[in-house]
């Protein structure tokens, strides 16, 4: 940021200039020169060049900086022309001229030479763009820009920022900028700044205070550590909530993975080892949808929900018809057969699609996190998954409790013969039930594609946990699955900080074993004479 004082005027006028037309000829020469200077050998020189560009106030500066930031500003090896790469996957890239920004056809990687940057320059660029963003239309952008400036202020910026603050309408932005300045003053050893920062949970603020608390000036150090202690108080609550959230989110994943099994295994008594692969199919469906709808990951994801359900459900039907129907009342055989099926499905994916993981893009509205306060923010994708899990569960409950199908399923599972006698087509019910369970597994896959690998091993990683959850909750009891999943998740996350990830998992397993000793039929066992036998 040291360079900002020189370029700030440039920056500000840039925002005004943006639209002013210039003589194209002059533009090209100056532009070419600027860009040439960017293509220096050492990063230091490149830094200088960036400053020059901004000072120049050239209207194209912003687009250049962004291209540079994205590593898309490149130079043609032969004619030294600068271009901006539009799409840089594969070997041949569509490019636009860096001066006129007119399409310049395709160029091969070989011909081009990237103007490289490193993290330092990236920081510099982001800082510069942030300052620009302070003048953006959308208040959100301004807030982010202000937040980005926290801890990145130096003497040069104090004056102009003061000006910005006075002109700024939004209170939040003003508050943030004031804090930014306060951090700066704190660094200068100004004790008063501590009060301005007191109580803020922002990590930059905390960092600044921690630094100050180590300073040699006793009064400052003392004040800073006092403020820190106060902040720590608030943080403690935050951490508690955070851990809870982590737990619930992990739990929701477990529930999603297990709930389908709770149907096929819990209700139908089919020990379906291919359950994991049904999840995998759901995840791959998401990937496929995104391939079908390039550029619209969000839409693809939405569509993947029904699609994933369908694909897995169909696969489920195939498994039911192809294998399980021959194994009525022999659940152990179903374990063996479905294990075979799972092997086949895995290898199928490996050979047909690829043994490598597939990229599933996270749409913008799923990435990032929801900031409750400066110290506590919930990651969005997991938040959605948590919600999704609950919705799926509710839906499933509805189906089992309210619909004809649910009634028939319960009838058939309780007394097949009797149900038959009452004119329920048991075979049809079996198919539908299994399809339902498998479909839900597919939904789980769609959700998991946002959290973890989409690859042939996806299923393997969840099958064991799924069985644990179902059994822990009590076979045949959906509520049990929900409670078991969530509680196991929370326990795991509570243990993790002090036990470490590995030990936490082990402890949870031991806990399950011991718990089953106490409640040999899980959390929610069937009571009464029926269960005694």
């Amino acid at each position: 940021m040291r360079m900002l004082q020189r370029l700030l005027p440039g920056l500000l006028c840039l925002c005004l200039l943006c639209s002013l037309p210039l003589a194209a000829q002059a533009q090209d020469e100056s532009g070419q020169a600027l860009l040439a200077s960017l293509d220096a050998d050492s990063y230091a020189e490149k830094g200088e060049a960036i400053e020059e560009i901004i000072e120049s106030g050239d209207p194209r500066s912003r687009r250049w900086l962004e291209a540079l930031l994205g590593g898309k500003l490149q130079r043609h090896k032969e004619n030294g022309r600068f271009v901006v790469v539009v799409e840089n996957r594969g070997r041949h890239w569509p490019v636009v001229d860096a001066l006129s920004f007119e399409a310049a056809g395709e160029m091969s990687r070989r011909e081009l030479d990237r103007v490289g940057i490193n993290n330092a320059l990236r920081g510099q660029l982001q800082g510069a763009l942030a300052v620009l963003d302070l003048h953006a239309e959308a208040v959100e952008e301004r807030r982010d820009a202000a937040r980005a400036l926290l801890g990145d202020i130096d003497a040069s910026l104090v004056e102009p920022l003061q000006a910005v603050i006075d002109s700024e309408a939004d209170g939040e932005v003003r508050h943030l900028l004031e804090q930014a300045l306060a951090i700066h003053r704190l660094a200068q050893g100004d004790v008063a700044a501590v009060d301005a920062l007191a109580g803020s949970l922002n990590s930059q603020v905390r960092a600044a205070l921690t630094a100050a608390s180590r300073s040699d000036d006793p009064t400052l150090a003392q004040a800073a550590s006092a403020a820190l202690a106060d902040i720590e108080q608030k943080m403690r609550l935050n951490r508690g909530l955070e851990t809870l959230y982590f737990g619930l989110s992990l739990g929701s994943v477990l529930v999603l993975a297990a709930i389908g099994l709770a149907i096929t295994f819990g209700v139908m008594g089919v020990i379906n080892m291919a359950h994991g692969e049904l999840i995998m199919l759901g995840a791959y469906t998401t990937w496929a949808m995104q391939q079908l709808l390039p550029g619209q990951p969000g839409l693809a994801l939405i569509l993947a929900i029904p699609a994933g359900f369908l694909v897995s459900a169909l696969a489920g039907v195939a498994i039911e018809r192809g294998v399980i129907q021959f194994l009525k009342g022999r659940p152990l055989e179903t374990l063996l057969a479905t294990f075979g099926v799972s092997l086949i499905l895995q290898q199928l994916v490996r050979t047909v699609i690829s043994p490598q993981n597939r990229t599933v893009v996270t749409p913008d509205w799923l990435s990032g996190s929801l900031m409750l306060n400066e110290g506590l923010s919930l990651t969005l994708n997991r938040l959605y998954v948590l919600g999704f899990a609950l919705v799926v569960f509710a839906g499933l409950m509805l189906v089992m409790r309210r619909t004809r199908l649910g009634l028939e399923v319960r009838a058939v599972t309780q007394n097949r013969g009797m149900a038959r006698a009452m004119g329920i087509r048991a075979t049809r019910v079996d198919i539908l039930t299994f399809a339902l369970g498998s479909g839900v597994a597919g939904l789980a896959g769609v959700a998991l594609s946002q959290l973890t690998n989409v690859g042939p091993n996806l299923g393997q990683n969840y099958i064991i946990d799924s069985f644990m959850v179902v059994v822990f909750g009590g076979v045949g009891n959906l509520w049990g699955t929900l409670v078991a999943g969530l509680s196991l998740g929370v326990i795991n996350q509570v243990l993790e900080p002090w036990a470490g990830a590995v030990l936490a998992k082990i402890l949870v397993l031991v806990l399950i074993i011991l718990f089953i000793q106490k409640r040999p039929r899980g959390l929610f066992p069937q009571k009464g004479r029926a269960a005694e036998g």
Binding site: N88, N119, R358, S367, P456, N461, K505
Partner: protein, 439 residues
Amino acid sequence: MTIRQRKTHPSLWLAASLFGLGMATPALAQEDDPIKVGILHSLSGTMAISETVLKDTVEMLIEQQNEAGGLLGRELEAVVVDPASDWPLFAEKARELLAQEEVDVIFGNWTSVSRKSVLPVVEELNGLLFYPVQYEGEESSENVFYTGAAPNQQAIPAVDYLMNQVGVERWVLAGTDYVYPRTTNKILEAYLKSYGVADEDILVNYTPFGHSDWQNIVSEIKAFGSQGKKTAVVSTINGDANVPFYRELGNQGIDAADIPVVAFSVGEQELTGIDTGPLVGHMAAWNYFMSVDTDANYDFIDAWIEYTGDEMAVTNDPMEAHFIGFNMWVEAVRKAGTTEVDAIKDAIIGVSVPNLSGGYATMMPNHHITKPVLIGEIQDNGQFSIVWETPSTVAGDAWSDYLDGSRDLISDWRKPMECGNYNVVTGGCGGQAEQVAAE
């Protein structure tokens, strides 16, 4: 090569008729047998994700070699088996390749444990194994050639870069709980402390294989990083666990500008499984990147894309390692004029072949090779942009200078020493003495 056969067969018949079958047939058998190249990479199970491409790479190299007229006038033939990510099966398959198939050389293995399980077999049956993956070092076998990076060819330069160029003062050493991260982190800890980094500025964290829930750890890293000192994460997290890890990083808003992550096991191949948007700027240290700007590399990439028929196919460091290893072996065979193992072992030391980053790789007496060290930053297109590289190539060091046990050990397989773990203090050739004598 069908053409080649048409060429060779008549001449052989001629030879046969001239010298009489009795004399000719043994020679003929010799001449005609293809040279068998064993490929020992998992095509199923957890490691298939990483290893299948290596199998394809070797097959491609063999194909190219055959198009170029084979080796010593003989065809090369790939013998592929699937050890299925099952470690004992690795040993069994290695035995099958050497004892049953009688291959002349094996290219294979990814995980340390699979190498460890194959090692005794290869030594017992005196085979050749080219191991293409960066590993923890602390090993030097007479029969194994390590074309991947040793810690001093990857970890230490990367840390140097972070310390000097980026100015990192606080370190998180996060890894999957197995021997490679353990050893690497041990070495790094010792190294960092030797540069006066305090204990409380180092956070070591281990997670199980395929760990998928990183929420706690990432927030811990976040907290560790908000102490007013520049912090970096040195990640030895293994393959599968990386995707959820990076996703969590992205979502908890850890930006490369604040807390950069430098990874030793994340290459282009792994990135194909990740939406790299949020990861731009995080780093990896390798000896090769697909983005290396040399014609040799572009040719390799073109050949690879052609071979796989996938326009989006990517190359990575272990593939280059196999490329180098394969060419070194070919060189050595030419030099020795035979595929006989002991001859190759002597011939290959000192052989140097071009690598893909515009330099040369040389096989050192300790069976490790010289490599440049590159540091790359992740781009939004799943590639790395190289931000730093060692001025010259670095020779692989089998025994780390930063571990008590191995500080005094050196490895030199040339005569007269012929020892993988010579102790410069005691002046004895470690445990393998008897065994070497025995063989």
